[in-house]
Amino acid sequence: MPSQPRALQLLNILSALLLAAAAIMVFTYAPTEKVMGEVQKVFYFHVATAWVGMLGFIVAAVVAIIYLRTKDLKWDAIGLAAVEISLVFFFVAIFLGSIWARPAWGTWWTWEPRLTTAAILEMVYLAYLLLRQGLEDPERRARFGAVYTILGGLSVPLTFISIRIFRTIHPVIIGTGGSEKMNMEPAMLTTMFFSIFVFSIIFVTLFWHRIRLGQYAEKIEHLKLKLSQ
């Protein structure tokens, strides 16, 4: 079994260091928000994990189209990796979000568009995994998985739009906000963008590991098959 390539080993270390740096930055560099207090600090990683979830979602949809065009099972493994990472990171984002929501809005869960859409996206991912589990033939599994990822990739934005037409209590962070726009000091913005950058690196690292894991799983299948013959 080949050991991890140098670049990946480097990424492992880099990810750990950057995560530590981001944590230190959140607690020492970023000022404490006046209204919400300490709990607002959860916001930086909340945004960053949601960003990674979003990245995974987009990668999965693009890779699904590539798979259907090329029929190369390599792309299926990559798509699965993207879905799994997105699933986990959206879960973390939802979890951090509700830690924040409790003091901010007095409730663990709100039917806010982004939060609700994230929850529905998690359901799409779980359905995707259940679909794969019900199929033996790897090619059919890959094809159906890709088709379903594309359906999810199109319906989830529409879900977001349709829920968005309801009133929202989520603060609009960037762009033209409503009255609930959060007051972001420059140091806060810097911390947020740094966190997003750090988690993007972590995304690449995990993605790489997950793809390698997929390759090993395939190798084991090969070996099992050889033994059984």
Binding site: L131, V147, S155, I161, I163, I165
Partner: protein, 233 residues
């Protein structure tokens, strides 16, 4: 997506689509097993709503649209499952795939008959609900929304049922696959229906109608493009 759609005659695509739909309707009118299951189930759901939600006169107005669409969505999965299981169990799907037509014609035929089944159920359930809860549901706007919502639901449902019927978990899987991706249809249909029932301003209803139309166009187009991938081997 078929590499060579070299059909012998130009009308063969339409003829095949209609043949598939006709075949489903003819078989169903004889056995009535799919429609009766959907109807009995719908009636049960409506009855359960009465006890579960204590639908007194005041609560009714706000909840009618939601109750109707929950009923349609659940009854719909019954019909979709059954309609694809008939093809799969006796190997008929292979028979369809052996025909020298583009495979999307089969999809459109199945989607058409599924839509017909759903509309038949809705045409019976709406008056039934009207009578049981003493609400007037004969509203052209509501009927139009019902049609639009059912089109989107069956367009995606037919595609997903074709997939789920080929898995080990089969019928259990369809609602799990279908509901998360059909949420825009359900949200928009409930909101638009409720708008028409409460006599809301047309400007409040239009966005929901737009969502339904956009969803239908996108998903019919996607299903047309990917159906081949769902039936090939």
């Amino acid at each position: 997506m078929n590499p060579t759609p070299d059909s012998p005659r130009p009308s063969s695509y339409l003829r095949a689509t209609l043949a598939v739909a006709w075949k489903d309707l003819a078989a169903e009118l004889r056995s009535r097993e799919l429609l009766s299951a959907m109807l009995v189930f719908s009636t049960l759901v409506i009855l359960i709503f009465y006890f579960a939600l204590e639908l007194d006169v005041k609560a009714r107005n706000g909840i009618t649209a939601g109750a109707l669409w929950v009923t349609f969505a659940f009854a719909g999965t019954l019909g979709l499952n059954r309609s694809m299981a008939i093809e799969k169990d006796r190997g008929c799907l292979d028979g369809l795939l052996l025909a020298p037509v583009d495979r999307s014609a089969i999809y459109f035929g199945k989607a058409l008959s599924n839509l017909a089944f759903m509309l038949i159920v809705e045409i019976i359930v709406l008056p039934l609900y009207s009578v049981m809860y003493n609400i007037n549901l004969f509203n052209p706007g509501l009927l139009a929304v019902t049609l639009l919502g059912s089109i989107g639901y069956t367009a995606v449902g037919t595609l997903l049922a074709t997939m789920s019927v080929q898995t080990r978990t089969r019928d259990v899987l369809l609602p799990i696959l279908l509901f998360p991706v059909v949420i825009p249809v359900l949200v928009a249909a409930v909101k638009a229906s409720s708008g028409y029932l409460t006599g809301a301003d047309i400007n409040e209803i239009t966005p929901w109608i737009n969502i339904l139309i956009v969803y239908n166009i996108i998903f019919i187009a996607v299903a047309f493009m990917v159906f081949d991938f769902v039936v090939e081997e």
